[in-house]
Symmetry: C2
Subunit: 203 residues, 2 copies
DNA sequence: GTCGAACGCTACGCTACCGTAGCGTATCGT
DNA sequence: ACGATACGCTACGGTAGCGTAGCGTTCGAC
């Protein structure tokens, strides 16, 4: 491939990504990209058809893809590996600052929503497979609701990130898995006592 | 108070809120508000000093505040009440569509961030109190990490909402509390087996 | 009824941003 | 070397949005 093209694309992507990371999607203006990347505006428009197109490319390039677990590996270990990978995605300064914008734009921009759906689909597939294998091996309850399980794996991490409740590190990944196994383990007490009624004394 | 002021403020707020709900923060333009509210632009600027000010007011007005649990009520019941309240906040069409924008704007707009911090503070206070009471009553483990507990209460709900994994209803609120109690209950198996090592056989 | 406050209207000035035209220059592949 | 392709530059045209000026009108309070 023509090295000029390669150079231009990477310079623009670098500048555009930094702009969004630093100032949010609103900071991604073509003029700002021109200044920062030192690439002429006309040249940029030879590679991306619009500003929105460029924004979509920036996000797409930063979206993490969960690693596919090795089929013959221990399920619990695989789960921990995947969760640690998620944690590291959120530790990545680029993705961590892109994610909030990504969440919002997915609501109103069709292009970004499509990226979101592809990501969700991949993540859910990986996690669903692990949850089902865990159920088959008796590590978690057999009739487990896969979506619910996924929510309990991803949710605490996401909220810890968004709210800044706790440090995002391997420790949190492991503790989430621990809690997950405790909550969904086959010996998880007498499961649902859904009708709101306290177990013991009230005072 | 002058009813003209009351009328103007509510008409503008209604229009502005609808605009953000329908099209995101970018759709909140003064001209659009003028058209929809039938209030003159000059009048709007007599009540809000800028467009950003109006946006902040819109968000502030929609942010849910968790109910303060009654001190003499059963802890588990209170927890369920609070979680159901959170669920209903997300069922509210206004807040559910404002939340993503809120998440993003909190990163780059100081005004919105301040609102976010006030909300987090109130939510965390309510939940922390309940978690601590639960610990004191022996419903959950005694040395419980309050922030971790909060993450496990709010996280699954948040991710279910953001990803659209499951229907947002009272059922999910209750099941989250169930899972929480199972994961953090005093008899929650042999707690952390943090070093990644499977319990039984691997294959 | 009268006075003051709130409101409405038109018309701006200003800025930021998008995306393009036209034409000359530099660089790559062969 | 040399043709093709990519790139750079300047200068725009057009739009959208913010916030204000100035002045007349209406409405509420008393």
């Amino acid at each position: 491939m023509d090295p000029r093209v390669e150079r231009t694309r990477s310079a623009v992507m670098r500048a555009a990504t930094d702009l969004v990371v630093e100032g949010g999607p609103g900071a991604l203006t073509m003029d700002a990209v021109v200044l920062r990347s030192r690439v002429a505006k006309t040249t940029i428009y030879r590679h991306w058809k619009s500003r929105d197109d460029l924004l979509a490319t920036v996000i797409e390039a930063s979206v993490p893809r969960l690693p596919e677990p090795e089929p013959d590996a221990d399920v619990e270990t695989s789960l921990r590996v995947v969760m640690r990978y998620s944690v590291n995605s959120l530790r990545d300064t680029e993705w961590s600052r892109l994610l909030p914008a990504f969440i919002m734009l997915s609501r109103h921009e069709a292009e970004i929503r499509a990226i979101n759906e592809r990501m969700d689909w991949q993540h859910n597939r990986v996690l669903a497979e692990l949850v089902q294998r865990a159920a088959a091996e008796g590590i978690v309850e057999s009739g487990i609701d896969v979506d619910e399980a996924i929510a309990h794996l991803q949710g605490p991490l996401m909220i810890a990130f968004l709210a800044g409740l706790m440090p995002i590190d391997d420790r949190i990944a492991d503790s989430i898995v621990d809690r997950f196994l405790a909550a969904f383990g086959p010996s998880a007490a007498a499961k649902p006592r859904t009708p709101a009624a306290g177990p013991g004394g009230d005072a």
